[in-house]
């Protein structure tokens, strides 16, 4: 990690330690928008880390974004910071202005398509998208949409859709939005119709990596603190062995996610994203299970804080593709290229 990124890492960790209190998480789960947290993030430029400086952003790279997004996952920050970072990048790549405030992204389901059409100088948007993160709360939406079969990126303001609210099991908003000829602020052709899906998977991988660190920390702490049979349960080999598995999975997903972001900075990260989301979604299962088993009944209560991470793991492993989705893509890629191409593909950078 270079020095600037280490400073960024410390600063975001301090900010989130101060701002993501249990009260903030609870009220967010009740549907309140955490204004103070978001304001602090904006003051520090974090939501615009990937927006070039000449477009009003920080001008950082994907690895800087990784630092912010991994931390957001680690602290279970109940705001669409990751979505806003990705939206900023997609808009900026299409040479569109990036507005202030939280921006979400759509579609986030692989089978959903939005369409935009042009009348004179203005564009309008139609279609239904589900599971949109903070779909009702974000000020803007960056959408991937088709115009005459060509992929486009478009920016839409809040208030243009009819909304059906829903949540994931971490009680993060996941809303269904229906657009019927909605006004579009700006639109431009995009190079690729898969990019939102791929980068969404990459971002969730880093968030999962962060949440895994939290469940590991909490589990080790609990095992050292909790005394049964006259000693901390962390002294029992049965518990130690499970926590070693958890540590291994945490380290593995951390490496996979960070590698994907590093590759995104230098080229096409498709292979690394397939690897990262497959591993992250797989590990989420084992990790949440071990963490809860270690914590016993107290970890199963709403009062204890373990669930802020584990419910996110269970939500995020499904979002932007399950382990089987990405493994299927990766397996077809590997089989399509043939056995002799496998090793060169794994080491090619």
């Amino acid at each position: 990690m270079n020095e600037l990124r280490a400073i960024l890492s410390d600063s975001i960790a301090r900010l989130l330690t101060d701002e993501v209190t249990v009260d903030v998480r609870r009220s967010a789960e009740d549907g309140d928008w955490p204004t103070a947290l978001w304001t602090k993030l904006e003051e520090n430029g974090h939501p615009r880390v990937l927006v070039p400086e000449d477009q009003g952003g920080v001008g950082g790279g994907w690895l800087d974004a990784h630092t912010v997004i991994q931390a957001a996952g680690r602290f279970a920050a109940p705001v669409p910071i990751s979505e806003t970072i990705l939206a900023g990048r997609i808009l900026a790549d299409a040479a569109l202005d990036v507005p202030d405030g939280p921006i979400t992204i759509a579609p986030v389901r692989p089978d959903e398509v939005l369409k935009i059409s042009r009348t004179g100088n203005s564009w309008s948007l139609s279609g239904t998208v589900s599971r949109v993160p903070w779909g009702a709360a974000a000020d803007h939406l960056a959408v991937q949409a088709e115009a005459d079969g060509q992929p486009h990126v478009a920016l839409v303001a809040q208030g243009q859709a009819s909304i059906q609210a829903d949540r994931n099991i971490a009680r993060e908003p996941r809303d269904t939005l229906t657009f019927e000829g909605a006004a579009v602020i700006a639109a431009a052709p995009a190079s690729d119709r898969d990019s939102l899906w791929r980068y969404g998977a990459m971002i969730r991988s880093a968030q999962i990596a962060g949440a895994l660190e939290t469940v590991l920390d909490q589990s080790v702490q609990y095992a050292n603190d909790r005394v049964q049979f006259g000693r901390p349960i962390g002294k029992f080999q049965a518990v130690q062995q499970q926590l070693a598995i958890l540590a291994g999975q945490t380290a593995a997903v951390g490496a996979a996610a960070e590698t994907a972001f590093g590759k995104a900075e230098a080229g096409d990260p498709e292979f690394e994203i397939m690897v990262a989301k497959t591993r992250a979604s797989e590990a989420a299962e084992a990790a949440a299970s071990i963490a809860h088993q270690t914590h016993g009944a107290i970890g199963f209560t709403y009062e204890h804080t373990l669930h802020y991470a584990t419910r996110r793991l269970w939500s995020w492993r499904a979002e932007f593709g399950t382990a089987s989705h990405w493994a299927g893509r990766l397996g077809r890629l590997a089989a399509g290229r043939g056995a002799d191409a496998l090793w060169p593909m794994v080491v090619a950078r």
């Binding site: 497959t278 990766l330 397996g331 399509g336």
Partner: protein
């Protein structure tokens, strides 16, 4: 709180250039059928090892004064991973290159280094490891093979077990008990270089369940080891062995043992796999790539002069789980049965790896020991 951070690492251009050379070398010198390649680092071929030595690919990071090549850990890493991925028979020079040589560089006398390292580098001098005994496996500190001080050296009595390659290597790096009543249980142990041709040493093969003869029982009966073959400090064997095991655990061999089977699985699936095949293969490829990221990161830590013993244990544990899962997954995807004599490459490779896979989480530290090390590293005491 301790986390294991595997910083993504990129190989420098000179390492990637070397990769091309290694692949060319393997194309020219490796013509083994698939089932033989599956044996990879248990394949013992002195002629091949000498060729590798000629190319300057043994002792790559060692000082030139001992015949080494003073290349980077990254360059060494690339040579290793290409050899293993191709299933090259590296085991003759493997142990010396991986751990005996580095051990001598760190703890050996100047005379020992000058005597042994140049031969190792040429691919002519092979080593085995004498750690385990009939009553000492994971509990290595309990070794009983006794070295008693006598005039000019040490008299050794006892038995080593599971000694891979003892029947065809030149020297053993052995851990003997030099003090039968040490103050702490990790004391009283000393490492020695043992000439396997010495009188009083009997090597008996212990065939494994697949019928292969690679490991042995080595019996010492009043065997004499001269004073100048003591490695490091008398009584300091435990610390030295721990350092040596860290070398042993850090390499790419800890996740590539089953790569031939993954390749055969991909061949069986054809270019148009079923969804079930695709998902299973994808999950395996994801683990393979993920392990390679971590293993390369460990190489980066070594290059930076760090001692990634804990990280190496994490990779070895995850790698063993991956390697060990492969035969079962492959079998579940195919109605082809494992075969010994006939059958296609998939069936023969499956037969071999199914049988040897239990060893993956035993050799070089059992799963339970590794996880105990990891747990301590996490701050669980």
């Amino acid at each position: 709180m301790q986390h294991f951070h595997f910083e993504p690492c990129q190989l420098p251009p000179e390492a990637e250039e070397l990769r091309v050379e290694v692949r060319d070398f393997l194309t020219e010198n490796l013509h083994d059928p698939e089932v033989k390649r599956a044996r990879s680092w248990s394949g013992f071929e002195p002629e091949f090892s000498r060729k590798v030595g000629e190319r300057g690919w043994i002792g790559m990071t060692w000082p030139k004064q001992y015949g080494g090549h003073e290349r980077t850990f990254f360059e060494r890493y690339v040579v290793l991973e290409e050899m293993l991925a191709a299933g090259a028979p590296v085991s003759a020079h493997w142990v010396a290159d991986r751990q005996s040589g580095p051990l001598l560089l760190r703890f050996g006398t100047e005379e020992q280094r000058q005597r042994f390292l140049p031969q190792i580098v040429r691919g002519e001098c092979y080593f085995c490891i004498g750690m385990s005994e009939p009553d000492s496996g994971s509990d290595l500190a309990s070794v009983r093979t006794r070295a008693e001080k006598v005039d000019g050296g040490w008299k050794v009595n006892g038995t080593k077990l599971w000694t891979s390659g003892a029947h065809r290597t030149h020297y053993m790096i052995a851990l003997f008990r030099t003090d039968p009543n040490p103050e702490d249980r990790h004391g009283g142990l000393t490492q020695f270089l043992v000439d396997m041709k010495s009188p009083g040493i009997t090597v008996r093969p212990v065939p494994d369940l697949a019928g292969q003869e690679h490991f042995n029982e080595v019996i010492f009966e009043d065997a004499f080891v001269p004073d100048d073959m003591l490695v490091g400090t008398e009584g300091g064997g435990w610390g030295q062995v721990t350092a040596e095991l860290a070398f042993e655990r850090s390499g790419p061999e800890r996740y590539l043992s089953c790569i031939r089977l993954l390749l055969e699985l991909i061949r069986e699936a054809s270019q148009d796999p079923t969804e079930r095949q695709a998902v299973a293969i994808g999950k395996l490829v994801a683990q393979l790539a993920n392990l390679r990221q971590m293993s390369l990161s460990v190489a980066g830590m070594l290059q930076d002069g760090k001692s990634p013993a804990l990280e190496a244990s994490v990779v070895k544990d995850l790698g063993a789980v991956f390697e060990q899962s492969l035969p079962g997954i492959a079998q579940d995807l195919s109605e082809l049965e494992p075969t010994l004599e006939n059958g296609n490459d998939f069936q023969q490779v499956l037969a071999f790896l199914t049988q040897v896979s239990p060893s993956f989480s035993l050799r070089g530290g059992t799963r339970e020991i590794l996880r105990g090390i990891i747990a301590r590293g996490l701050g669980l005491r």
